[in-house]
């Protein structure tokens, strides 16, 4: 095997490989012999067919297979010999293979850049922590109580007022004819809740229990039911009972209705939940900070092929968004070229960070154990109640989906690893600032990198944020797409 490097431009490498005909021939004979053991040919017992004959009969069809195998084998050999780690699948082109002559092919690939992770201990990050004020817990409890609100019949009869709950029977008519869906009995209606047609509830204010009221309303023009929209209807309403709302008190009773021991336990669990929420936000910000820092610190060349692939993925998403008219206004206002430039920058950043993280993971032998994987899958399965089994099966069957689960786990582990090394200082902030800063903080770091236009910059930042915090479950589609990209990256770099 003869290998000559034709180009070495940045991360791009091109090789010309020549494999002597005898090598190919040898492989071919070997393969034919293997085949000859099982092949059936009239006039011969299996395994007794002479090689010469086999070659004549099957040579052509086997040749393709042999060449393919030789090429892949030799190309991997070239890569291992030269210690190259390809970023994407190498492009291989067979230059010439005349019968009986040497096989010659060219191989173009992009190598994973030499990454020297920075000294993480020099990283200075800030973790925002929040003391949860009691007032917040009270508020949360209040909200819970509100949801549990009950109403009780009036102790002393009085006309209905806003906020009351009236129990009514009603029959609706349009032009004297009843229409389907226009009648109900024992309907609990909270006045002022706006759950019925506008105007309906207002006309019941001031009525007494036992009253019969005729309510005349006009269905709004945009009413979902086309036949009723814009028509005037008269409702005969009988008010059976007026109930007044009773504010639920925050006490042990409330806690019990939630299945908890007493109020103290409830406070505890509410606090825990709030803490978890803030913890998630705080971690997200920390991670974001870290990624920003990493992106600023590392400026290695990124394989164009990978950027291209990542960009394609993003762009497809954008295109489909646009077709459905869901494109952000800001994006829509921009010209195609600007947009492309923006997203290309994003793609490059993602690839760079992805490479860096996987490199750090590789160097430090970080692995996702099967246990963790199973746990993640279980969590995923729980999201589809009733179909847990199916979900599990799905993951077991498709390694690709499994890899999708693995990618964020891996990323998280690497992040954790880096965070352990980095100097992380805690800073106490008000809850409000924590939530608020998340929309502003990153722009500082970003400014160094972001290329075109101030407006584009802000936009880009927001987008990147979304993409980087792949644990933010709010946006389903994007992190998933990202995870996939990660996976392919990883697969190729290993």
């Amino acid at each position: 095997m003869q290998v000559t490097e034709t180009t070495a431009d940045g991360l791009k490498r091109e090789f010309k490989v020549v494999i002597p005909a005898s090598d190919v021939q040898e492989k071919m004979d070997h393969r034919l012999q293997e085949l000859g053991k099982t092949i059936r040919m009239p006039g011969f017992r299996p395994g007794k067919v002479p090689l010469q004959l086999l070659k004549q009969r099957f040579g052509q069809s086997i040749m393709g297979e042999i060449i393919e195998r030789t090429v892949t084998d030799s190309s991997t050999q070239v890569m291992t010999e030269r210690n190259l780690r390809p970023a994407v699948q190498p492009k291989i082109e067979i230059v010439s293979f005349p019968e009986g002559a040497d096989l010659e092919y060219s191989m173009a690939l992009e190598v994973v850049p030499e990454i020297t992770p920075m000294d993480f201990s020099t990283l200075e990050l800030e973790r925002l922590t929040v003391d949860i004020p009691d007032s917040e817990i009270d508020e949360a409890l209040q909200r819970l109580a509100q949801r549990q609100r009950k109403s009780e019949p009036l102790a002393t009869p009085r006309p209905a007022q806003n906020g009351d709950v009236v129990v009514i029977d009603f029959t609706g008519r349009i032009d004297g004819v009843e229409f389907p869906g226009g009648a109900a009995t024992d309907h609990y209606l909270e006045l002022g809740s706006g759950s019925l047609i506008p105007g309906f509830e207002e006309q019941l204010v001031g009525a007494n229990a036992g009253d019969q009221v005729t309510v005349t309303v006009t269905f709004p023009e945009d009413y979902p039911n086309k036949e009723l929209a814009g028509k005037e209807a008269a409702f005969d309403v009988t008010i059976k009972e007026i109930r007044e709302p009773v504010a639920a008190t925050i006490d042990d009773e409330l806690a019990k209705s939630f299945g908890l021991e007493d109020l103290a336990a409830m406070r505890g669990s509410v606090r825990e939940q709030i803490e978890k929420e803030y913890g998630g936000v705080s971690r997200g910000k920390l991670k974001r900070q870290l990624l920003d820092a990493l992106a600023a610190e590392h400026d290695f060349e990124v394989p164009a092929g990978m950027v291209e692939a990542e960009f394609e993925g993003i762009w497809r998403q954008i295109e489909s968004d646009r077709e459905q008219g869901r494109l952000d206004e800001e994006d829509a206002a921009k010209s195609e070229d600007d947009l492309k430039a923006d997203y290309r920058a994003i793609a490059e950043r993602r690839v760079r960070l992805g490479l860096l993280l996987s490199e750090v993971g590789r160097l430090n032998n970080i692995q996702v154990s099967n246990d963790e994987l199973t746990r993640a899958i279980l969590a995923e399965a729980r999201r589809y109640p009733g179909q847990e089994r199916k979900v599990m099966e799905f993951y077991q069957k498709s390694p690709e989906a499994l890899a999708q689960v693995r990618a964020p786990l891996y990323e998280d582990k690497v992040i954790d690893y880096i965070l352990e090394l980095a100097k992380v200082s805690d800073r106490k902030v008000e809850p409000a600032t924590l939530l608020e800063e998340s929309s502003e903080a990153p722009s500082g770091d970003e400014a160094k990198k972001a290329k075109p236009k101030a407006k584009a910059k802000a936009k880009t930042t927001a987008k990147r944020k979304k993409a980087d915090d792949s644990d933010s479950a709010e946006d389903e589609a994007k992190p998933k797409a990202k995870a996939k990209a990660k996976v392919t990256k990883k697969a190729e770099s290993e």
Binding site: G43, F44, K48, L53
Partner: protein, 110 residues
């Protein structure tokens, strides 16, 4: 027996068409490949082909020198088809030994 009466040295004249008629097909089997080690090739020939004819035909078609020809008649097997006895046709095989330095690639066809 009448062919045996013919003097050995007298060459047989064959038309081009008859030559191609005589060489019906190569026999490609384990046994026939064994013969190829001794510079022998095997053909199926018509039942009425004689050794001198075969020699002339092989020499004419493949442009080689033939040293000897051995022939055999193979009786067709008796087979039953739907319970009725039938018989596969008989055929004649000719093992042709080529003179040194000559060869025929039987699998490539004429």
């Amino acid at each position: 027996m009448s062919s045996g009466a013919r003097p050995k040295s007298q060459p047989v004249k064959l038309s081009q068409g008859r030559m191609y008629d005589i060489i019906r097909a190569p026999v490609v089997t384990e046994k026939s490949t064994m013969g190829s080690e001794h510079n022998q090739v095997t053909f199926r020939v018509p039942l009425d082909a004689t050794k001198p004819e075969i020699k002339a035909a092989v020499e004419g078609v493949f442009k080689v020198k033939v040293k000897a020809v051995n022939t055999l008649r193979q009786d067709g097997k008796v087979k039953r088809f739907r319970g009725r006895p039938g018989r596969r046709p008989d055929y004649k095989k000719a093992m042709v030994t080529l003179a040194e330095g000559n060869s025929i690639d039987v699998t490539t066809g004429v």
